[in-house]
Symmetry: C2
Subunit: 344 residues, 2 copies
């Protein structure tokens, strides 16, 4: 057998017509038990797998879902992917993941290829610099889309975090511990998730009457966080607590403190954002704002399924609250007061 088996291969092997094979495999139409068995056996024997493209083209159905995000290496995203996949695979969908690396041009390429090749639906964390042309393109394809984190259009279903509230909670936690000078650390982009967080941070600092706010930008990565905490410590030794724009930044900051012989939760209190698996595991364990990425993925998937089943419904927005998980990197500001590690 020189080529891959197709419907007619199975038909020939079973001695029936291609139409019959299709009906057997799809479970439609009237087929006698005897031919059904013969067809199934033949399909198994030649290792037949249907060509989903042809099937999808004819039937109009499509069970492929694209998931486009920024940065696969971030464990938050890895957990999100698991949540999305588990939920959608349960309904027989195939989820393929693309990493735009937050580059609008790569994202555009990826989306074009994705749309060209799979027509089911899209879960999308838009990259910075996403332009209107990309949105027009998506709209024209009538593809069910759910955006996450960054809203790019009022016409698309959207899921986002309640960032302002989360930051308020974080600042409140630190203020309750007795901290007066609290900085916000991380990010550089002047767009929605980060600006919302900063707004929440500034509002909370003002409400509580705390010391002058300080926004200290850095790349959102472990390395960025490590370098930033060092420059921050050098420039503002009086900062006693830091809320970070993500766990990777926070863990990087912990590393930075460690390299100075200091320790998060002693000289400086640190709060992350995301609650990646590593946060509970680190030493000291990271206090962070948990959004349960796996569960979030599931909810994103369900939004998309809802959209696919009713393409005409009005666009929805879902806002998810983060909950503060106190661990060992936050403590009262008493100088030189070591804390005992709480096991996790």
């Amino acid at each position: 057998m020189a080529h891959r088996p197709k419907l007619s291969t199975v038909a020939a092997a079973a001695g029936v017509s291609p139409a019959t094979v299709s009906q057997v495999l799809r479970g439609t139409g009237r087929i006698s038990e005897e031919t059904r068995a013969r067809v199934l056996e033949a399909a198994r024997a030649v290792n037949y797998l249907p060509d989903g493209r042809a099937a999808a083209m004819r039937s109009g159905e499509n069970r492929e879902i694209g998931l486009v995000l920024h940065h696969l290496a971030n464990p938050f995203n890895a957990e999100l992917v698991s949540g999305v996949s588990d939920r959608l695979e349960r309904d027989g969908y195939l989820v393929s993941v693309l990493d735009s690396r937050d580059d609008a041009e790569r994202q555009e390429r990826n989306l074009r290829a994705l749309i060209a090749n799979m027509r089911g639906g899209l879960i999308w964390v838009p990259a910075s610099g996403t332009d209107a042309a990309t949105l027009d393109l998506l709209a024209a394809q009538r593809l069910p889309v759910v955006t996450f984190l960054h809203r790019v259009s009022p016409d698309l279903d959207h899921v986002e975090l309640n960032n302002a509230r989360a930051l308020r909670d974080a600042v409140a936690h630190l203020a309750d511990l007795g901290h007066r000078r609290i900085a916000f650390l991380g990010g550089t982009a002047p767009r929605a998730p980060r600006t919302d967080r900063i707004a929440g941070y500034l509002a909370a600092v003002a409400e509580r009457g705390l010391g002058a706010p300080l926004v200290w930008p850095c790349e959102d990565s472990r390395r960025g966080g490590r370098d930033a905490i060092l420059s921050l410590r050098a420039a503002h030794p009086d900062i006693g607590a830091v809320v970070c724009n993500g766990d990777m930044v926070a863990l990087g900051a912990c590393l930075g403190l460690a390299s100075r012989g200091e320790r998060a939760g002693r000289e400086v209190s640190i709060i992350g954002f995301d609650d990646v698996a590593e946060a509970a595991l680190a030493t000291p364990a990271l206090t962070t704002l948990s959004v349960m990425p796996y569960d979030l993925g599931r909810r994103l998937a369900e939004r998309l399924l809802a959209r696919m089943s009713d393409p005409a419904a009005a666009p929805t927005t879902l806002r998810i609250d983060a909950t503060l998980v106190p661990r060992d990197t936050t403590a009262p500001p008493s100088p030189r007061r070591p804390i005992r590690s709480r096991r996790t």
Copy 2:
């Protein structure tokens, strides 16, 4: 316009036949400059994107590549994905990533869906428990495949690491520093990459005439490494150095030591495997066996491209050497002798 634009939509808009539109977009046939311009303008105006499925079906070409691996959350894999994608996107392919989570059943489902929907090629890290039926299925589809890490068939192109040699280098490095009792930490599966590493480890220990070897299994994750180093320290306090089955295990082991108030490179020397980005960044910086995952991804991609361009060629095997990168978690076994942090 109620539906997504297709070739005939563009044709109508430009006042030409669908065949002409196809020729313009594909750059084939003879088309006057004037109609070409009109067609391109029309395609842009209606936001046309070709249906790749129909095109692929007719032309037999396919520019979709699947990448199936174990565990997206491991940064090693994230870097690998980048390398693969960058190389293949350069040639106009779409790479979609699936995570089998090392579960043979999920892998089988994923592969079936993948093969059904995309017909270009596959880069595959087979899960444990991959069975012959899966291999038969793949073989019957005549899909170009490159396996990575785990060889499952002599008929498929394969890329693997020279694990035995890498472990030998690691043990040699520790022995040269003066260590006598060295353990191997990590993994549980009794299959190829790990058994090769253990074999190399045992051989090196024997050759060097070191103290009794010790294989200490654990889950290959940060958590697994952390827990394992604690139980290992408790059971065998005389072990002075550990070679780990991956950087995640090694970094976990460092965390475990830290939670005891110890430090990798002081009480115990630790060597990882993979050289993920975090390794150089951690405090202390992790000594590890580097395989340059990004570059490795590129090489995998090139293997696959070669296979796709010549499906009849004999299957090849590529064996990649890891190089030891000494950083701060390895040092002479002198008790209580702190080492200076080497910046990276």
